[in-house]
């Protein structure tokens, strides 16, 4: 066993951090408060080939695995850019997983190269308000129109839909009642997010406001037959090649944000003097920081194990991806919350950035999968307990 990152991963970590360091807390604070997409940042990473990390070399990417993607996204999240920095990039990274694994050759030739260069933006369209976490209950559906399809329905929380030309849509092609299993009968489309047929409304939200999340109303959107990903009716299972990597890299991001918060809080605890001594001398301040540091270290190992399992094509991926997501989301948010306590009133002030990290880290306990549903998965599939819902 070897816990050292190999030389490539070390370089990826170091160079991604160096590039991200050009965009400081003020940049992110500003974009977050103005709800403005961080184009300068995005373009710098795109120009330097980072968005293609998971895309096979044949289609212009770097052909690396989820571990490399995690190292990259952890680096940008720990730069002070937090979720804003990670989300600006990550949809193009894990979002194309199902296309890489299940798309036709024609689809890959057409869409992977511009994704790798960052020109093509893709949104991820799974969640619906009526179905929620019960993905089998989605109602957006596609009907055949000759060789093509027509899609109608509504999606919610579609991150970056404002910028996206394409949306990876999960839709029903067979009503649930007619399927043998509830998750059968859904199909995946890499559809044009054609504004003539789709209305996109930004959802005002607690944090990560430089990157929008939206409601997308879809009215008879024509979709070419060649935009079907993989097989009709197998959409959900194919989507897992996006969902599991998503959980793993988001775990890496949560660790990055948590580490950033602990780093800031440690520096502050060392220099802020109250009662004539640095507050870090009090164990009530020091212990939570030490405890969070160790929690983050543990979570960091777990996402890397999950990534390693995914990259080698192992079987235990669902369990590990969910466990990593659970641990990292808790550790990341707790780290930010404790950092806020260390900063006292200043932790609540925008200027000190901790409140921004805190708002963004909180998201990890809800999305991309809630802690409860991730625990349900572990209880059922890892421990073998009966399904609870």
């Amino acid at each position: 066993m070897d816990f050292e990152l190999d030389d490539d991963l070390k370089n990826i970590d170091q160079e991604a951090r160096r590039l991200a360091a050009n965009f400081d807390d003020e940049y992110w604070r500003d974009h977050d408060s103005r709800h403005e997409f961080p184009w300068d940042y995005y373009n710098r990473f795109a120009e330097n080939g980072w968005i293609g990390v998971l895309i096979p070399t044949h289609y212009g990417g770097a052909g690396l695995g989820v571990q490399a993607a995690g190292v990259l996204l952890r680096a940008v999240a720990s730069s002070g850019g937090a979720m804003n920095a990670a989300s600006a990039l990550h949809l193009s990274i894990f979002g194309m997983g199902p296309v890489i694994h299940h798309g036709s050759e024609e689809m890959k030739e057409k869409y992977l190269p511009p994704t790798a260069t960052g020109e093509l933006h893709v949104s991820f369209g799974v969640t619906e308000d009526d179905a929620g976490t019960d993905t089998s209950g989605i109602r957006t559906s596609a009907r055949r129109n000759g060789d093509d399809w027509i899609i109608t329905g509504k999606k919610i929380w579609n991150t970056k839909a404002q910028q996206a030309q394409k949306i990876l849509l999960l839709v029903r092609t067979t009503p649930k009642e007619e399927c043998r299993r509830p998750l059968d009968g859904m199909s995946l489309f890499l559809a044009d997010l054609d504004r003539d047929y789709c209305e996109i409304r930004e959802i005002p939200k607690l944090g990560r406001n430089a990157v929008n999340s939206n409601e997308v109303f879809i009215n008879d959107l024509p979709v070419s037959g060649s935009d079907l990903v993989g097989e009709v009716g197998r959409g959900f299972y194919q989507l897992l090649d996006g969902l599991n990597p998503e959980r793993i890299v988001l775990a890496a991001e949560a660790v990055g944000i948590g580490r950033r918060a602990i780093e800031c809080a440690t520096a502050y605890a060392g220099k802020r003097e109250v009662f004539g001594r640095p507050i870090g001398k009090n164990q009530a301040i020091a212990h939570p920081l030490a405890d969070s540091h160790s929690e983050l270290e543990a979570a960091d190992l777990l996402w890397q194990k999950a990534a390693w399992e995914y990259d080698r094509g192992g079987k235990n991926i669902g369990g590990l991806a969910n466990m990593a997501k659970i641990r990292a989301a808790e550790a990341g948010f707790r780290a930010c919350d404790r950092a806020m306590q260390v900063f006292g009133g200043f932790g609540y002030a925008t200027e000190y950035n901790i409140e921004r990290y805190w708002r963004e880290a909180r998201l990890m306990r809800i999305a991309p999968v809630s802690q409860e549903m991730a625990l349900n998965y572990v209880a059922e599939h890892v421990l073998g307990l009966p399904k609870s819902y």
Partner: protein, 251 residues
């Protein structure tokens, strides 16, 4: 055309440096290391010459411990073609670095040797100058602009000197040392990082170069700068003027 670029591994300029209590060196635990920023500018300039003058081989050289290969890999990821690591434990005195480079110049026969004007750790600012002297070559130090002649037989180097600029011309081969404003170094791209791992990185023990390794300068003691006194806040201009007069005694 061939360009040799010297690369030094130095502590991250943004890191807080602590001096060891006994003054024999700095605390290196958990310290992050980077390519000396001036060396990075030198690498960038070599790459630009390569790109703008119909190709060149860019060869990086570092003298130091095994870990220096991390910095050489960074340079290779930026686009350099291959690297040589001259292995030696502990601090290596500038004159020994210059001798090692002179030896490699003999073997490699480059047209230009690019260096940073100084390393940000010991600020010696001597290796380029000593190397030029050892080789009997012309030197353009503190370069803020480098122009090669059409036939690549000479270079004009704009030097930043006190209060202005000085253009010097020299035949190649020559030594050029990079100043801050020469260029803005590129970042290693992800494809660049992936290509770097396949590039040659040759290691040569310093002892194998057969150079004089006698030490001429010994560091006796390092001491941290004195701690800054806390400032004072004043309410009025009058108060400020009074204090400048009575306490600071500057007016």
């Amino acid at each position: 055309m061939k360009i040799l670029v010297a690369v030094k591994r130095v502590p991250d300029p943004n890191a807080t440096i602590k001096v060891r209590p006994d003054g024999t060196g700095i605390v290196t635990d958990n310290l992050k290391y980077v390519v000396n920023p001036f060396c990075e500018i030198a690498i960038e300039e070599a790459l630009r010459i390569k790109e703008n003058h119909g190709g060149a081989e860019v060869v990086l050289v570092s003298v130091g411990e095994q870990v220096c290969q991390e910095q050489l890999r960074t340079g290779l990821a930026m686009g350099a073609d291959r690297a040589i690591l001259v292995l030696q434990d502990g601090d290596v005195e500038p004159v020994i670095v210059a001798r090692a480079l002179a030896k490699l110049v003999e073997q490699e026969q480059p047209d230009i040797v690019m260096l940073g004007k100084q390393a940000i750790d010991d600020d010696s600012n001597v290796v380029g100058q000593m190397l030029a002297e050892m080789l009997g070559w012309g030197q353009g130090t503190f370069a803020s602009e480098v122009k090669l002649s059409e036939d690549k037989s000479s270079a004009v180097v704009t030097r930043e000197v006190d209060g202005g600029l000085e253009d010097v011309e020299m035949p190649l081969p020559a030594i050029i040392t990079a100043d801050l404003r020469l260029n803005e170094p590129r970042y290693a791209s992800l494809p660049g990082i992936m290509k770097a791992r396949k590039k040659e990185l040759k290691e040569i023990p310093l002892g194998d170069l057969g150079i004089d390794q006698s030490v001429q300068v010994k560091v006796h003691k390092l001491s941290p700068p004195p701690e800054r006194q806390a400032g004072k806040k004043v309410e009025t201009v009058q108060e400020l003027v009074d204090l400048l007069h009575t306490e600071a005694k500057v007016i």
